[in-house]
């Protein structure tokens, strides 16, 4: 076992050596690339070559501040690294000249500085711990994100990588499982089942052949923490799986990744090849006689495959339909063999628990939910991004402290948590502690960790319809409640949004929702009514407005908008009449124009063209410079 310490010493030397040079590091996760990070990278390479600069140019993954992407970090030997946000290729020449050649960081572009070890801090740049987005965060699962090169084994090993595997391999299998049990770690995919208990079941299951499977089929719209971790720290997933494999007695692992995540797949492949080369995966790992191989299975595009039995069926090469449990996968999983199935984030927690001990882990969180949770902040929030917070923090803290509040000074309306399986939480409940049980009690669920923030211009009926149209399309069709129930509920919601709602629709929706919840075969069906039920519970008046007044208070359901022209403001320029594809606008020269409500198709084409702001509707009321958030009704 001297093998790892030698590798660790070598990697640490190489890693520390890097800090003796001037370094420019670009954030190249999928989000960074989408924001133009690769163009910034090209500009840096070009600039450094043409000016003959002696600098290291490297890349990292997403540090979490999606709202400031693309990000670039520059560090000089002995000084803190400065993270710059909103970089563009044309800012590059000045940035490099100022920070590297003249040794003056560009303060106005800097987001924050990160001090590694004893490096000197700059005076006028916020420290990471003081930066509001990070001040309430704990970075464990995400600790390497944005700090190391995800395609470098050196970086991983130098930051204590594979130490937990080495430690675990010297422990008894049951001791590892006991440690995980004591840590209180619960499944991070959403269900929240105690991880140690699950491992114990697989350990006890009878059979010589067992499997370890990682669920990386992150399909919830609005969730990207698994992608960020896979792209940013692929080795930690492999290490967590290998520890699990040893503990439960499995020698083969599968990672089931969405095909929509090509970069994650590529980085995982690189990581697996590196780990195999250095004897950290494969046969006789670290000379202990333990064998463990990991294979990647790319999904083929079906949300239901995130359900555990459907996922296993899909790996076996079949239509990814769920089956009745029991038998649970722990007893009869992949190819009928005992199988341990956990989510990406769950596995990544494992090496930290083994390294630092369960006592450290239980020091974070609440009574029943320990540790930290990674959330994705999206929607109408100022700071969109990836945030890891201790369990038990309030949603208000996440949205206002970490997330920086609502965009454009609008009013908070709801936060949707848990994706299509979750529900909406309103303002009054924002002080709830974030843990599995209190969220479930509030009608939402932890889910995988997507938080979509909605403001006053978001229509809750439209949101319910959006999620249901998603689950309806993704329903696999095997069980009747889900196949038929989602269809009927969607019909009703479409009716409400188009202004043809009836009073009895509300009761029907609630009854159908309950039936589907209680009778559907798998988690997808059992949870898909949550967005409807929670919005009816908390926003009943909005449903009533759609039904009784044929009005959408948020101005989002375009079929319910009534466009009108203010005769006092109309100058009779006739532009709106020309723009109207339905011929609904009439009037004479220099006289106020008029919209025929019966002919109007509510397309909104007239509105942006009116320079006198004479046209208005619910979404763009009188004297409002904001353009309406007109949205298509499907």
């Amino acid at each position: 076992m001297g093998h790892l310490s030698e590798l660790h010493a070598r990697c640490t030397d190489q890693y520390i050596e890097k800090f003796n040079r001037s370094r420019v590091i670009v954030g190249l996760g999928t989000c960074g690339i989408a924001a133009g990070g690769d163009k910034v990278m090209a500009a840096i390479q070009h600039e450094a070559a043409s000016k003959n600069m002696h600098i290291d140019i490297d890349f990292t993954s997403c540090i979490g501040i999606c709202f400031r992407e693309p990000t670039v970090e520059i560090s000089l030997p002995g000084f803190a690294g400065v993270i710059y946000g909103d970089m563009t290729p044309d800012k590059v020449p000045y940035l490099l000249e100022s920070h590297i050649i003249n040794r003056h960081p560009v303060e106005e572009w800097a987001v924050m500085q990160i001090s590694e070890g004893s490096t000197a801090l700059y005076e006028n740049i916020t420290k990471m711990n003081d930066y509001p987005f990070y001040s309430k965060q704990v970075r464990t699962v995400t600790s390497r994100l944005g700090r190391t090169n995800p395609e470098s084994l050196t970086d991983y090993v130098a930051t204590d990588g594979y130490k937990a595997l080495e430690k675990a391999l010297s422990m008894q299998q049951l001791d590892i499982i006991e440690e995980i049990k004591k840590s209180g770690l619960r499944g991070r995919g959403g269900g929240g089942f105690p991880t140690g208990m699950k491992w114990g079941f697989v350990y006890q299951a009878v059979g010589a052949k067992k499997y370890v499977v990682c669920n990386a089929d992150e399909g919830d719209p609005g969730a990207f923490m698994d992608r960020s971790v896979l792209e940013g720290d692929p080795h930690s997933v492999l290490e967590g799986m290998a520890i699990c494999g040893y503990a439960v007695g499995a020698d083969e692992g599968y990672i089931f990744v969405r095909a929509e995540y090509p970069l994650a797949i590529k980085r995982l492949q690189t990581a697996i090849a590196q780990a195999e080369k250095y004897g950290l995966l494969g046969n006789n790992i670290l000379d202990t006689g333990f064998n463990f191989k990991i294979k990647i299975k790319a999904g083929a595009g079906a949300f239901v495959c995130g359900e555990e039995t459907a996922l296993l069926t899909s790996i076996e090469g079949n239509r990814g339909m769920p089956r009745v449990r029991p038998p649970f996968p722990a007893n009869q999983g992949l190819w009928g063999k005992p199988t341990n199935l956990n989510n990406v984030e769950t596995y990544v927690n494992v090496p930290f628990i083994i390294n630092r001990g369960s006592d450290w882990y239980t020091s974070m969180g609440t009574e029943e939910s320990k540790g930290s949770k990674v959330f994705c902040l999206t929607g109408k929030i100022n700071n969109t991004g990836l945030a890891e917070v201790p369990m038990g923090i309030s949603l208000r803290d996440i949205i206002y402290s970490v997330g920086g509040g609502i965009q454009n000074g609008k009013r908070f309306k709801a936060v949707q948590i848990g994706g299509p399986s979750g529900g909406c939480i309103r303002e009054e409940d924002l002080d709830l502690p974030v843990d599995y049980d209190s969220l479930t009690a509030a009608g939402a669920m932890m889910g995988s960790g997507g938080l979509v923030v909605m403001d006053e211009t978001t229509c809750m009926v439209d949101v319910a319809k959006f999620f249901l149209s998603f689950t309806q399309t993704e329903s696999c069709g095997k069980c009747t409640p889900c196949r038929e129930g989602t269809k009927r509920m969607l019909e009703i919601l479409n009716r409400l949004c188009s202004g043809a709602g009836r009073m009895e629709d509300l009761d029907t929706l609630e009854r159908l929702g309950r039936v589907v919840k209680n009778t559907a075969l798998c988690g997808l069906g059992q949870t898909c009514p949550n967005p409807i039920l929670s919005t009816i519970l908390y926003y009943r008046d909005e449903y009533l407005a759609h039904i009784q007044d044929k009005r959408c208070p948020a101005g989002a359901c375009s079929a319910l908008l009534v466009y009108q022209i203010d005769p006092d403001k109309c100058k009779g320029c006739s532009k709106c009449a020309k723009n109207c594809p339905a011929g609904a606008i009439t009037g004479g020269k220099k006289k106020p124009y008029f919209i025929d409500v019966d002919k109007c198709i509510k397309c909104g084409a007239c509105l942006p063209g009116c320079q006198f702001e004479a046209i208005y509707n619910d979404a763009a009321p009188h004297r409002n410079n904001c353009r309406p958030a007109t949205r298509r009704t499907a």
Binding site: G301, T384, G385, A629
Partner: protein, 161 residues
């Protein structure tokens, strides 16, 4: 004078397919990766290709067809050289993802799931690309483009031949 190379290309494609089949022969659970790689070779899964795969790995054609039609990734019709996937996820939805889809549809003159006549583009939607912080987002082939406005769409699409 131009000469048609269709026959030769097709033969090369089938040779390629044979290699893939040989690779996966006797590998458990290989139907999905086999179909994925076959689709990479041909661009889509034709009846003939699926029949050949079924016969070679001794799986009933009904099962191959069942799997191919279950997953949204598989296509039974020819597709464009460039696949455009407009995100319609929650975060993109609240930030105007529908307008991006409309702009792409208008530029290409095809509806959702349509392919242009010259086989240059296929327009699709996707439930979430996981780049929610950059919404609204669209993906062309493996490139993700974020923080879009409808007016950005045409020039992005023009870049893909």
């Amino acid at each position: 004078m131009s000469v048609c190379h269709c026959e030769q290309t097709r033969e090369a494609q089938y040779q390629e397919l044979q290699k893939v089949i040989d690779k996966y022969l006797n590998v458990e659970g290989s139907l999905i990766p086999l179909l994925q790689e076959a689709q990479e070779i041909f661009g889509y899964l034709s009846g003939d290709v699926m029949k050949k795969i079924s016969a070679e790995i001794k799986v009933p054609f009904s099962k191959t067809y069942g799997v191919a039609t279950f997953y949204s990734q598989f296509h039974l019709q020819p597709r464009g050289r460039n696949i455009i996937r407009v995100c319609q996820g929650t975060a993109c939805h609240v930030r105007g993802g529908a307008k991006i889809l409309d702009a792409a549809a208008e530029k290409l003159g095809v509806a959702e799931n349509g392919t242009t006549k010259d086989l240059r583009y296929t327009l699709e939607t996707v439930a979430c690309l996981g780049a929610c912080g950059q919404g609204p987002v669209l993906m062309v082939n493996d490139d993700t483009h974020g923080r879009l406005a409808a007016k950005d769409v045409p020039k992005i699409l023009d870049k893909y031949e």
